[in-house]
């Protein structure tokens, strides 16, 4: 389940040349899928988007809120590689987006922050093909800049004198937090259980809580207002992110092309810049 991070702090990098650390990756079933996808398409233009200069296709991608920065970049790359294609992005809590897709929201691709949410969509028959894990994220304790309450680890979240924000157990980040806290044997004393991870982050940025459990990528995205406190390896919890083309896609080939783009070297590079890990 938990693996020590292979890259550590080197995750923040300028947009480098793609593909320099693909070799030697543990052989898993999706790794083969990724390699195949990269070999076939990558982000490069497929034959489905019409001739260049003739705006024709549109694709709607619904993605977990934590993917906001990475997917905005990937969508721009995809549009550049597929002239005439418009990518419309919708971000929200995975647990909000999932039911929306089941209820018939017009979308072509869904990227979820938890297998549970994706399972809901798969069981409703809204997915074409099998969802694939395309990224992983880790929880981190986030504190306001300067760490005013001197939070050092998960055990501090049990301190009744500290103001602590967690995600509600109903949403993926809250479920991950519960798992991490249970694994560490910590009885946390949260003062608020927020409805999504960005709400926790906002309260930390404003200094209205002393600590919160968010994803590592959120700490990076928040910039200087928020600091991360790394969890010891033993307390580390990894969350899988899954992506799938949807059954209702107007242009199924284009939807698959976007999924391939996310899993391509270029896409993975963008995700790594945002703090995600390769599956």
């Amino acid at each position: 389940m938990s693996r020590p991070s292979r890259r550590g702090p080197s995750a923040i990098r300028p947009c480098g040349c793609p593909g320099h650390r693909r070799v030697g990756h543990p052989p898993r079933w999706w790794a083969g899928w990724v390699v195949l996808a990269v070999a076939v398409t990558g982000c490069a233009g497929g034959g489905t988007s019409g001739s260049p200069g003739q705006p024709s296709s549109e694709i709607v991608v619904l993605a977990a809120a934590s993917l906001t920065e990475a997917f905005t970049q990937i969508a721009a790359d995809f549009e550049a590689a597929h002239p005439g294609t418009d990518v419309t992005l919708g971000f929200g809590g995975s647990s909000t987006l999932g039911p929306q897709i089941v209820a018939g929201a017009p979308a072509d691709v869904f990227a979820a922050a938890s297998p549970d949410t994706m399972r809901l969509v798969v069981e409703a028959g809204a997915v074409s093909g099998a969802p694939a894990v395309f990224a992983r994220n880790r929880l981190q304790i986030a504190v306001p800049a300067g760490n005013p309450a001197d939070v050092g680890g998960l055990a501090d979240l049990a301190d009744p004198d500290l103001l602590v924000a967690l995600c509600a157990p109903e949403v993926p980040c809250g479920a991950a937090a519960e798992t991490a806290l249970a694994a560490a044997g910590v009885q946390a004393r949260p003062d608020t259980l927020e409805q999504d991870v960005r709400a926790v982050l906002t309260k930390i940025e404003l200094g209205e809580v002393d600590a919160g459990l968010v994803y590592r990528t959120d700490v990076l995205a928040a910039g200087a207002a928020v600091e991360g406190v790394r969890l010891p390896v033993a307390d580390d919890t990894v969350s899988d992110y899954l992506i799938a083309a949807l059954a209702d896609a107007d242009d199924p080939d284009l939807a698959v092309a976007f999924v391939d783009c996310v899993s391509s070297d270029q896409g993975q590079e963008t995700l790594a810049d945002a703090g995600f890990e390769r599956p």
Binding site: T96, P99, A168, E170, D191, T192, L193, L206
Partner: protein
């Protein structure tokens, strides 16, 4: 200003219109009747859909769940306190707007209506920036008195009152404008102080308007979500009101969310019906 005229016209004219409406209904042109019926359906059909899809058999079990009981109790308590706070501050504010000639009164009225048009989440954020631990005033509260408002039931009341008070102020202001000023003037010429005249003449005259405003205010506070969740957070039994509980439930178990929605809907309708009954009978005996 347009925002203030709606409740004004609504409440002042309703009593008079009630007797007339029965006679005029039969002469109503179709051009008005058709959109009117559509408008009604527009408001009622979604609620019907909610009722149709409610798993009624699961209702008692849902109602017995401790977190539902907690959320409902918290919602009723905080909405009541918020209404009390709105009455305390809002009625005098309405009086100032309706009866005095303070400079910049249109600006004041516009400011009062801002929370009406503001997205509640923005209101919650604004409250956090004022009263939060790092807020303009909140920092002092924390430093001097050790008071931290967010994540407390008090914060829920503050957030709800912020969003709901305009409803009360505008309704009461409308009632004040349609009330007869000469009665107050008579009281003051007979030697009553303005405060005494306000308490003994104006307030009794205003009772129906104040009640209507308080009901609107309570209903708005009961349904408040955005400002509450942003300013007060969400913790079972302390700050997680029914709307927040419903939103969270809708993420995982939509059936539960539907049941909770029906519970909240029932409570709202009961409150409205109960208060309206008292308001009508009160008006009848006067």
């Amino acid at each position: 200003m347009p925002a203030s005229s709606a409740p004004e016209a609504g409440h002042a004219a309703r009593a008079r219109a009630r007797t007339r409406s029965r006679r005029t209904a039969s002469r109503m042109p179709a051009a008005l009747l058709v959109p009117a019926v559509l408008g009604l359906l527009y408001l009622v059909l979604p609620l019907l859909a909610l009722l149709v899809r409610t798993p009624w058999s699961g209702l008692p079990a849902q109602l017995a769940r401790p977190q539902v009981v907690d959320a409902l109790r918290l919602s009723l308590l905080s909405a009541t306190l918020a209404t009390a706070l709105c009455l305390l501050l809002g009625v005098p504010l309405a009086w100032v707007l309706a009866r005095t000639q303070i400079p910049g009164r249109p600006v004041v009225r516009a400011l009062v209506t801002v929370p009406l048009v503001l997205p509640p989440v923005v209101g919650g954020l604004a409250l956090l920036l004022l009263l939060g631990r790092r807020g303009l005033l909140g920092e002092r509260l924390d430093l001097w008195f050790g008071i931290t408002l967010p994540y407390s039931t008090a914060a829920v009341v503050i957030a709800e009152a912020f969003v709901a008070m305009p409803f009360l102020v505008l309704t009461v202001e409308g009632a004040l404008r349609s009330a007869d000023v000469r009665l107050e003037d008579a009281a003051t010429t007979l030697g009553a102080s303005r405060l005494y005249a306000f308490r003994r003449v104006t307030l009794p005259l205003l009772a129906p308007g104040v009640t209507a405003g308080a009901v609107l205010c309570f209903a708005r506070a009961l349904g408040e979500f955005g400002a509450t969740v942003t300013f007060a957070g969400s913790f079972p039994g302390v700050t997680r009101t029914m709307p927040i509980e419903i939103y969270l439930a809708s993420q995982t178990t939509p059936e539960t969310a539907v049941v909770l929605s029906v519970v909240l809907l029932t409570v709202s309708v009961l409150v409205l019906a109960g208060l309206r009954e008292r308001w009508l009978s009160g008006a009848a005996t006067r």
